[in-house]
Structures are given as C-alpha cells and as structure tokens.
Amino acid sequence: MIPAPFDFVRASSVDDALAALAEHGDEAKLLAGGHSLLPLMKLRLATPAVLVDVGHLGELSYVEDGGDHAAIGALTRHRALETSDLLRREAPILPAAAATVGDPQVRHRGTLGGSLAHGDPASDLPAVALALRATMVVRGPQGEREVPADEFFRGFLETAVGPDEMLTEVRVPKVAGAGWAFEKFTRRSQDWAIVGVAAVHNGSTGVALVNMGPVPLRATAVQAALAAGATAADAAAVADEGMDPSADLHADADYRRHLARVLVRRALERAGA
C-alpha cells in the first residue's frame, strides 16, 4: 500500500515548521514518528497534500525537571519515556504505559506529542495524560499557550491544536509515591487496547479510559463516587456511566462496558484508591 502523493517539507526548527503550517494551512500535516499518520495515509484514510517533517528535531526531544512537574518535549519517543529515570521516579505510570504501546519497533519511532496530537481514543497515552492531569504546551503564530488535558481532546482524531499550531511540550505533575495503575485488554500484545484504564491516586484519584468513546475520556462517575467515599468495587461499577463505546470486530459495546468495569476495579485496587 502506497500513500497518495504529497509534498514533503523537512523542517529545520519549530519556527520553520510553524512557517510551513502557516503557508499551507489545512492542507498540511505534521509528521513526527509517523506511526499513527503513515498507516492512515497508506490506507488513503488520510491524504494530506503536504507533510511537514518534525520527527528529527532534537530541540523537542527531552525529559527535564520543571520543579513541580516533568517537562517532556513533544518529540520524545516512547522508548525514551520508558527508560527515563526522572519519569520512573516522578510519574511512573507514564513510562509503564509507554512500555506497552505497540511493540518495540513502534516505540523506537512513535512520540509522546504525536500520540497525543493524533487524538486517537484507542491510544494509551491520552488516557495517561488525563489521569495525570497533564498540561499541553501549544505553540502557534500568536505565541505559546497552555491547554489542560481535560480541554485538549475535542472529537474523534481532533484536538485543541489548531491547523497553524504545534504541540511542543507536555507537562506532567510530579506524583512520586502516588498509587497508580495502567490496565489494558488486548487480543494480541501489540494491538490497540479494546479497553484500557489509567488511574493515579494522589489524595484525589484521576481515572481515564481508553477506547470507550470517540475521544479519550475521564471516568467522571468513578471519580465522583470515590470522592463521595465509595469503595473501589462500588466506584468501578459505574465506570461505563455516560459513555457510548463503539462496536467493532473485537468487541461489541456491551462487552466494552463490561471490560471497563472490570479493568477500573483492578486499576483502583492496584492504585490503592
């Protein structure tokens, strides 16, 4: 399978990439690791006229100590998240979840920012960003703005990043010592989750679900139940409340609801919520 023809711009910096986006507008897509975008292009489900390649920009590949948070460059690859000592110490759910994305070859190429900006509800890391209450830093012609994870995912494969903007950094609150769990159910180890859950218990509990609707979703009913004093088992019983999961080859909607309740219970118990 071959993608439809496109023009290729190799950006030399973030500013260069933003200039290319300004020039080509909606016709252009940013290319990071390409492991979400290229498969869609090979199936002709995406046919951008211009690809702006930012995958090689070292200036956006880093994990740094930002004081109360870890600052992660958007082009940091999954493998670098997996092996980051800072993240293992301060936000261990992120490297643990990154280590389950796809397979080693995918993790050598895929990036945190690419995964988040793609906005696929079946991807693992958006749910982790929600559970951790991460903040996305988005740069555009008007400068830089911060977007909380809860306002970032807008629709199916749609995020708060505008066509002339670029996700440049992800800020993850330090939660060393917090309880956490990332659970997902797949038919084969390298597959997307049929359903997944990320939970972080740090005083209050953040819980988010993978593949339970058109966007990565916060499990608000579970969080409310926990805040009102419910046990993990009772809170997990409402895991699918207000959600409208899709049906596909792997699971019908009822099975996804069942998986959500089971996986949330396991995650809450492991996280000590």
Binding site: I2, L38, P39, D103, P104, Q105, H108, R109, Q190
Partner: protein, 159 residues
C-alpha cells in the same frame, strides 16, 4: 526529493518520491531484497531493519525520513561464509521454518539484545512481540535469541 542514507556502511544518493516507503527504497532502489514485505500494515515485523541502531518497521517509515540516517539490513550481518552470532544461533536452534519472517526476526533480535544483553525468556518473548511467525515457530526462535545472548559479538554489526 534527494536522500542520502548510509545503508550497510555505504553512503547512498538517490532522488525519490516523498511517498516511497523505506522498505521499497531498500528493495527496489538500493537492490537489497533480503528485507521482506509481509503485512504492509506495521503488524508483522518482516520488514524490520535497524535505523540509527534501533529496530523499526521499514514499511512504516518513508525513505525521506531516513535521509542522513544509518540503516542496517540483514545483508550486513554475515561476513563471507561466517554467519553473525544471531544468525548462527537461529541456525543451531532451528529458529526458522519457512524463513519468511527470519530477516525481520533476526534484526529485531539484534535490537533486543542491544537493549537487554542478558535477557530473560520473558524479556525475549515480550521483546519480539512486534514480529509474527505464521509457522508459529516461536519456541525455537526464543531459544535461538537466548543462545545468541551468550555468544561474543552478538550485539555487534561490522558494517
């Protein structure tokens, strides 16, 4: 678009269409046909090569993304009649049946051993999760990788 990757130690220079996939570049432009196209959907790993020292699925990388990079394919491993330790271990442990997945399996194993020089069996099984063997010959492939881990030069590439 002009690309100039280094493939198995030799610097290349070609003009290619931006949509050319790395696996087709390696097979059809450079002429190295050991790397197989399997599923063509980044699932099976038959097209695995090393890109700057790490395993990647070359059906999901554009040739233009590899401009300036260092690519290693399975052709670079053996020297004359002497197999690379990972190849030798696959041979000795019967780590292949039909052989179609083998080039990708060997490259994935090499990358795995670079990250885990002394892996447990579980680490080998998980580390090869991106490579499918439709003969289902996994048991001997795992044995081969564990055997290779103990051999001198198992993580090296001489290209």
């Amino acid at each position: 678009m002009h690309v100039s990757p280094t493939v198995n130690g030799t610097t290349q220079a070609h003009d290619v269409e931006p949509r050319l996939l790395l696996v087709h570049y390696l097979r059809d432009v450079v002429g190295l046909t050991a790397t197989n196209v399997g599923c063509d959907t980044s699932s099976c790993g038959a097209c695995t090569v090393l890109l700057d020292g790490e395993s990647v699925k070359s059906c999901t990388v554009l040739a233009v993304q590899a401009d300036g990079a260092e690519i290693v394919t399975v052709e670079a491993l053996a020297r004359d009649d002497e197999l690379h330790p990972v190849q030798q271990a696959f041979r000795e442990n019967h780590g292949l049946q039909c052989g179609y997945c083998t080039p990708g399996m060997v490259m994935a194993a090499l990358s795995l051993l670079r990250e885990h020089p002394d892996p447990t069996e579980e680490e080998v099984r998980e580390g090869l999760e991106g490579n499918l063997c439709r003969c289902t010959g996994y048991h001997n492939i795992v044995k081969a990788v564990l055997a290779a881990a103990g051999m001198p030069g198992a993580t090296g590439v001489r290209a």
